[in-house]
């Protein structure tokens, strides 16, 4: 147990370091790149005097080192600075968008799990047949299709059929109740995120399942007369879940930090879109804040993954 605690503390310390390093690097890189918020927002025809006044007002006339030092001091007090675009504290902007991203990502994860794992059990426990073949082929197609294209396709279908909203998170007027409205708006972006993920789970689960069903103890169980379906869905599945469970946390992290393409196409007001707007406008504090939130998600996911692995296989924490 002590080993486990030390292990988790070490991983948590690494997570803190990851968040700090990623946000610091984002701020410095955004600041060092040619051009800045003022040139981007005032445009090419602004007067030099106006540009210099604006730079002074936003503190962009200071050196990178000076600006970084101030940011670190304030960040230590959880003050991530003020967004240049929105003139609001970054610490206020991030949570509202991160919550939206979390809703989308967790829905996609749930859908991918409910679809991907059972399909993986089917394909991994059967050697031949048209159904496993079709599932495998579909998985490969979905795995090789970027979420950007999937979301464009789904938006196209939604627009053509009129069955679902094309984008956004709620309808103007919110007809039909807030929860139902949110669910309707979730379908397209969550499906775009979930489809490649479900394919990945299916492939992973199928591989793990096929390894397990070949084990001597499984063959012995079958030889004792236990029905195959019971063996597969009860005994083999339990054993085959371990590698997928170990990867789960990491998937959560990448989902939460990497869904921005889908958010842009489907107009989902999440963290990814905020980051994109910040990068375009060269809003250094918002870029750093979004990067911190993204890496925090990633770190939390990795931590969960490490914890799951440590629980499943105690040797990991030794």
């Amino acid at each position: 147990m002590d080993n486990m605690l030390i292990y988790m503390a070490r991983r948590a310390a690494f997570a803190v370091f990851l968040v700090f390093a990623v946000s610091s690097a984002s701020l410095v890189l955004a600041r060092l790149a040619p051009g800045d918020y003022v040139t981007t927002s005032l445009g090419i025809d602004a007067r030099r005097e106006t540009i210099e006044q604006a730079r002074a007002r936003y503190g962009l006339n200071r050196s990178v080192g000076e600006q970084y030092r101030d940011w670190v001091v304030r960040a230590a007090r959880l003050d991530l600075g003020r967004s240049l675009i929105y003139d609001r504290p970054v610490a206020d902007l991030i949570p509202e968008r991160a919550a939206n991203t979390a809703v989308l990502a967790l829905t996609a994860l749930l859908a991918a799990t409910l679809v991907g794992l059972p399909l993986g059990v089917i394909t991994g426990s059967r050697q031949g047949g048209i159904v496993p073949l079709a599932i495998r082929a579909m998985s490969l197609i979905l795995l090789s299709t970027p979420p950007l294209l999937t979301s464009l396709f789904l938006v196209f279908v939604a627009a053509r059929t009129g069955w679902l909203p094309v984008g956004g998170m709620s309808a103007a007027g919110g007809a039909g109740g807030a929860s139902l409205d949110l669910l309707r708006h979730l379908v397209v972006p969550a499906a775009a995120l979930a489809m490649p993920l479900a394919a990945m789970f299916e492939r992973l689960q199928a591989q793990a399942m096929s390894d397990v069903v070949g084990q001597p103890y499984v063959l012995a169980t079958l030889a004792r007369g236990v029905p195959r379906s019971r063996m597969v869905w009860r005994d083999a599945l339990k054993a085959a879940l371990r590698p997928v469970a170990a990867l789960y946390g990491l998937v959560v992290g990448t989902l939460l930090s990497g869904s921005f393409a889908v958010e842009v196409i489907t107009a989902w007001p999440g963290l990814g879109r905020l980051m994109l707007d910040a990068l375009r406008a060269r809003d250094v504090y918002l870029v750093a804040g979004c990067a911190a939130a993204g890496s925090l998600f990633l770190a939390a996911g990795t931590l969960m993954s490490d914890a799951a692995l440590a629980l499943v296989d105690p040797r990991t924490s030794e």
């Binding site: 051009g35 025809d45 003139d87 609001r88 094309v166 196409i265």
Partner: protein
Amino acid sequence: MSVRTEPRTFNRFAARDTSTDLVSLLTQARLVRINRVTQEAEPWLAESWARSDDGLRYTIKLWPNVSFSDGHPFTADDVVFSFEAVYDQKTGSALADSLKMGGRKLTVTEVDPLTVVVAFPAPFAPGLRILDNLPIIPRHKLEAALKAGVFASAWGLSTPPADIVGLGPFVVSQYLPGQRLVLVRNPHYWRKDASGTPLPYLDRLTIDIVPDESAEVLRLESGQIDMTFSSVAPESYAIVKRAADAGRVKLMDLGVAYDADSFWFNLKPGAFAADARAPWLQRDELRRAISMAVDRQLFADTVFLGAGVPVYGPITPGNKKWYAAEAPHAAHDPARARELLGSIGLSDRNGDGVLENARNQPARFTLLTQKGRPSLERGAAVIRDELKKVGLVVDVVSLDAGALIQRILSANYDSVYFDPGASDTDPAINPDFWFSFGDAHFWNMMQKTPATEWEKRIDELMTRQIASPDEAERKRLFDDVQTIFAEHLPVINFVAPRIYVAASVRVTNLTPALSRPQLLWGADTIAVKR
């Protein structure tokens, strides 16, 4: 309707992005409005005005019985306050430059609650036209912020909608970050239609934020939105046309745009002093040769998918009042282009198809353009391919907007292909482009004294053009400016796109215009069929 980006603030004085400008246009009003169709200035909050004999002072009468959206009366004091706010040093308003003449402010004096006098520091032919840039804001709501030096932060996006007060047709009702903005009818709006019906006709206007253009078009054609703020991009034209043919949307061809994309070289003296290309890179002959080498029709077909017309100067045929049809322009003639290049020492000395200078170094330069803008990136590729045919090697480099603007401002480039655009169709309102000392004289900005004789001549002509009260004389003078410009080509323009806009068939009373916002500039009279 939809916009691609959300507004940065509800305070138009603090930001100049298109979405903030749109919200300001819908929720606030100006003293004078430029009618986007006729391009003439017309009284708006001003009932009438009279100009002094010397042309420097305008006495403006305001409409009586006008109230802000919270019911507070609008008076001349609010006009004075709006000028105080725009010129406030601490605010550093994004609008201030457009309301100054050569860096000098206008002065505004309240005569009585319904009369103000606006004085110009020098004769200015467009007169009150520039007041279209200034939304009139309420002193009673914003004076405290201005006095406290925090006006630029006032009316941020987290401000409760009830606190945002204006004289426009709509008021902000709800803002959902990243999703939408809901505007509702301003109950105190002061305009009525010809039959006395209070405006606006619309009860509510929902502005969805849709960052992706394809998704925006899909929403339009599926009827989930009624119009888009952006015009129809060439890539989307076919989809929208199909929807129009099916009777789902109205597709409107507004004609040739006021602005054309621009190509220019860095003409700052000494910029290439230590460069072997110095003898030819800044020569008039090079620019004339390039203008002749590029097939403008091919350019229009490739870059704008046929929806564009060849142009030979920064003022396009779309700007009917100021376009100089008689200004010289050279037709597509690659052979003549090669001759011109030969006259500045560039010829193909080793038969490899690439021109070289006398020291056998290839004629090569870098062209910067903006990344992520399909028409600019396609245009740069066409320029590269067309110039290759006459032996010039062009290396295209795409940069993000901030980096590109930084390179232009620091004169750290060979050439640029970009779309700077003009803020108004009247050249007197874009003096920074034409004057050699201007900040927007891109090819050689902020000259202390004109670097060339022709720029000196343009300075003289524009000085007279801006001051002259005689419109016919102003046109003659500006025709001369365009002729000199066409002879020296400091900026080469190839094609001006045609502008198309689309709206749902249920939207009526539209008066589309070429300048932005093409459909919503007259938002108070737009209606929808029930």
